[in-house]
Each structure stands twice: as structure tokens, then as C-alpha cells.
């Protein structure tokens, strides 16, 4: 009898394992988290992924380079445009094609618009994770405005496939500049509303401050990039460190914080929206004249070798690693996806917090599951 009682009181016995996902509202997709709890406190989180592993890397080995961009679209669908840009830049770098300024500027503007819409959606779903359902609708309402601009120019709302190796699919729509300016004007007024609804809320402060702290050392060691890494003070903005497209010509500041908690990951993204608007404003008025695409060979073949290109997506550093053997399709493609790496830190930072904090932390890392699984 005594034996039994002793057994029950050990920690092993008190562990309460719950399965969050693959279908769970807070995992934003089909992530499965196996959470061991002690009461409400999280003891460990084991992410189980692969519920949407589509084998994109293998698929790339049997298709041509222009076809790859249609798959990268579907990896991180919220920064589809930036993913495509990464592939295009790699191919252009390998072929040593000189890209006219017009293309560079348009790509930059589109990337920043993509970043804003991605952060809007993140804000919407983060608010929902914390239980503030109205945030969801505010975020999506403003996102539609950007999607309209995309639709006019690219012909599609989310998965734009606007980039192609050597330039862009089509020229920008005549209304493009006007509508982007209208949007910036509108969004500058609207963004403070976000602060009023969520960032200024005392419950939100209580829920997020000091939760899920990530030190700089750990951020570097775990390789956490993007706004999540920068909130910990990890200067990892590829736009600054290895400028691509038109980022070397413009002035913008890297958003850096040192605290590294959920609140600062949140603020970093809000500030990034402001910064993105600054970038767009610098470029929108002086898009240079010129062709919208460089004439490429009908069959693109990369010279033998290894190519690596980094870009900054809305969630962090996306690396495209292509090994070419000189054929029209790559020998090996590896995507270093930011979400995949960011997920790995979840167990480390969520340990010891409540289950509600786990949801908040997961939301603040801004995970997009198809990008993790590829």
C-alpha cells in the first residue's frame, strides 16, 4: 500500500501529456505538439512535424528552375513573393545576369508589401491566440487592401508567382504607384488602432511581458532569425548584412531589442511594419524606367557549382542552397526555412510556463507550418 502511494507522488506519475494538434486552433495548421504538463505548467514540449511534408526538395530535383518558384510559393505562403525572389536571385547570381534597377526596385516594394501583409495576418492570429477575437478581423480587413494591389499587378491574391528568373512576369499595373501610396496613407492611420486594441491593453501586457524569454546567446545558438531573433538582440537582418535587390540604396533601421520576450517579439513586428512603410515610401516615387525582365535563354541551365542565397522573409532568414550539375534541373536544392529553425526553440523557451503561455509563445514565433515541413 505504501509502495503505491509513493509511486503516485513521483513526478513521473503526475505527468499529464496532452496532444495539441494536428488539428488545433492555436497551432495555425497541422503542427502537433506533445505537451507534458504538471497541473497547468508545461514541463516539456515535443514538436512533431511532417503532417504537411510534401517533399518539395525532392520535387525540385526533377523540374526546371522557373518551375521551382511555383513550389516555393507554397512553402511560406505568407511571404510567397520573397521566397520566389530568393530562388530568382540564386539563379541570376549563378548565371551572372545583370538585373536592371527597375526590377530591383519593384521587387523590393513588393517584398515589403508582402512583409506588411504577412505581419498583419500574424497580428490577427496572434490576437486570436490570446483570446482577443476582434484583432483577427481588424488584421484581415487591412490585409485585403494589400491583396487588392497584388491582384491588380500580379493577377493573384496570395500566391503571386510574380518573380521569375531574370525579372518579373509582367510590368506593374498603371495604378500600382497610386494605390500603394493610398494604402500607405491609409495604413499609417490604421496602425495606431492596432496598438489601441492590443498593444496598449493591460491584460496583453500581463500576458506577454517576461514570457518565453530568449537570451541573445540562445538565439544565436538556435539560429533564431527574423523579428523573433531581433527581439533578443540578434542582429540578423539579411537586408542589412547582405543587401540584395534595392536594399543597399535605401535607408532603414534594423529593429533591435534586447529583452527577447513575447512582448518584444510582438513589438518588433509592429515596428517592422512601420519600417516597411518607410522603405516603400522611399522607393515608390522613383521607380526607374526600363524593361521589366531580362531576356533569358529559353532553357535555363546553371553552371556546375554550389550557390547559396539568403533573403529576409517576414519570418526570418530564408536560405536557398542549390547544387547544380549543369543540367536544366538542379542536382540538389535545400531550403533553409526560417520557421523550421524557429520551431526548434519552442521547447527551450516554453518550459516552465503555463499552457496559455505556450500558445502565446507559439503565436509570437509566428510559425507557418508548410514552411517547416516543406
Amino acid at each position: 500500500m505504501e509502495e503505491k502511494v509513493k509511486n503516485i507522488t513521483t513526478d513521473e506519475q503526475q505527468e499529464y501529456v496532452i496532444n495539441m494538434g494536428p488539428q488545433h486552433p492555436s497551432t495555425h495548421g497541422v503542427l502537433r505538439l506533445v505537451v507534458s504538463l504538471k497541473g497547468e505548467i508545461v514541463k516539456s514540449v515535443q514538436p512533431h512535424i511532417g503532417y504537411i511534408h510534401r517533399g518539395i526538395e525532392k520535387m525540385c530535383e526533377s523540374i526546371t528552375y522557373p518551375q521551382i518558384i511555383h513550389l516555393t510559393d507554397r512553402m511560406d505562403y505568407l511571404s510567397a513573393h520573397i521566397n520566389n525572389e530568393a530562388v530568382c536571385l540564386t539563379v541570376e547570381k549563378a548565371l551572372e545576369v545583370e538585373i536592371p534597377d527597375r526590377i530591383k526596385v519593384i521587387r523590393t516594394i513588393m517584398s515589403e508589401l508582402t512583409r506588411i501583409q504577412s505581419h498583419q495576418l500574424w497580428w490577427a492570429s496572434f490576437g486570436m491566440d490570446l483570446g482577443g477575437l476582434t484583432c483577427f478581423f481588424y488584421g484581415l480587413r487591412d490585409r485585403e487592401k494589400i491583396l487588392d494591389i497584388f491582384e491588380e499587378t500580379c493577377g493573384s491574391r496570395m500566391i503571386v508567382s510574380y518573380n521569375c528568373p531574370g525579372g518579373l512576369m509582367y510590368d506593374i499595373h498603371p495604378n500600382f504607384q497610386k494605390r500603394v501610396k493610398e494604402f500607405i496613407k491609409y495604413f499609417r492611420k490604421i496602425l495606431p488602432e492596432y496598438d489601441q486594441l492590443l498593444s496598449g491593453n493591460v491584460i496583453f501586457h500581463e500576458r506577454s511581458k517576461g514570457i518565453g524569454k530568449l537570451t541573445l546567446e540562445d538565439a544565436v545558438s538556435y539560429g533564431i532569425t527574423g523579428p523573433s531573433g531581433r527581439a533578443s538582440g540578434f542582429s540578423c537582418d539579411v537586408r542589412k548584412h547582405e543587401p540584395y535587390s534595392a536594399y543597399d540604396k535605401i535607408k532603414f533601421k534594423e529593429i533591435l531589442f534586447t529583452e527577447g520576450d513575447t512582448y518584444h517579439r510582438y513589438i518588433a513586428r509592429i515596428d517592422e511594419m512601420w519600417e516597411s512603410m518607410n522603405i516603400i515610401e522611399q522607393l515608390i516615387d522613383n521607380i526607374p524606367e526600363g524593361p521589366y525582365a531580362v531576356k533569358m535563354k529559353p532553357v535555363i541551365k546553371l553552371p556546375e557549382g554550389e550557390y547559396y542565397q539568403r533573403v529576409e522573409t517576414a519570418r526570418g532568414e530564408l536560405g536557398v542552397f542549390i547544387i547544380s550539375d549543369g543540367n536544366k534541373s538542379p542536382y540538389r536544392v535545400k531550403f533553409r526555412s526560417p520557421n523550421f529553425v524557429n520551431l526548434s526553440v519552442l521547447n527551450h523557451i516554453a518550459k516552465g510556463f503555463k499552457i496559455a503561455d505556450l500558445v502565446a509563445i507559439g503565436g509570437s514565433l509566428d510559425l507557418v507550418i508548410p514552411d517547416i515541413d516543406r
Partner: protein, 181 residues
Amino acid sequence: MKKEEFGDNESLELLNESGSNILLTTIDDVINWGRKNSLWPLTFATSCCGIEMMAAGAPRHDFARFGMEVYRASPRQADVIVVAGTIVNKMAPVLKRLYDQMSEPKYVVAMGACAISGGPFFLNSYCVVKGVEHVIPVDVYVPGCPPRPEALLYGMLQLQRKIETETMKSRKKRNATHDSK
């Protein structure tokens, strides 16, 4: 599509063939009116289509007008599962289980190319299920990659019309035919 055109459909033919008495049809009408006007979707999204599904619930498109805004996180309380996105082999048993956990009447909308046929991942991918039809019976297909929110709305309206023509018999038949596959 107009309502009259929609009358050309399998379950309606079945109804006309078998004929039915007044009492049952009236009850069917009432039940179907309830079911069609309150389709609560399950919060289930795998990839890009899920975002468009969210956009369909957002202010511009507003699912709520049709009484579909009550997204239930628990499959027990949901009426319709919108399969928004790719289903891979690892996910297929989970999807089947989710479907089994839902209580009758349950409907399935396959949203997007991936759910219909595997879409862009039809060729060369080693673990994508080529169409959700292989796992669970589908009522409405919404094509697109991803479909626009309007397309999803239209698909849901088609589902409403489908429910309208349903009878108790036809539901049984629908379930039986898929199980035998």
C-alpha cells in the same frame, strides 16, 4: 448557378424516383432548412487555402451572413469540414479520424487543387495524397490554387443547395457508397 438548374442532381433524381409521402418530406424540409442555414465549419486548415478560408470569414467576404461564422474547434460540434490544403500520407489517418469524430450530419468541402487532386504536388511528390476523396467522401469541390474567398463562398452556397435536396434516405446512401469503396 440558378436554383432551377441545380435541380439536375443525383439526390433529387433519387427522390423523384422513389417518391415519398407528405409527412416525411415536410419534416425533411424543416430539418434541411435548419441544417443548410447553420453550417458550422471545423477550424481545420493545412496550408495556403486555410488563409483564404480565414479571409472568407473576414470583414470583406463575411461568412457570418450565412450563419457560418461559428467556427468550432471541436469536431463533435462541427457540421462541415473544409479541407483547406494539401493532405499528405501522414495526415490522412488524422483527417479520417477527424471526420469520424464529427457527428452526423457531416459534410466535406474539398478546397483547392491540393485537396481535389494533389494539385501542384501531383507529380514527383512521394507523400502527397492525390485528392482527399481517397480518404473521406467529398460533397463539394472548390477549385483554385488557392481558391478566392468568393469561390469558397460559392462552394458553400452550393453545399446549402445540396442539403436542401437531401432526404434521410439519400444521406444513408451517400455514406454507404463511400464506405464500400
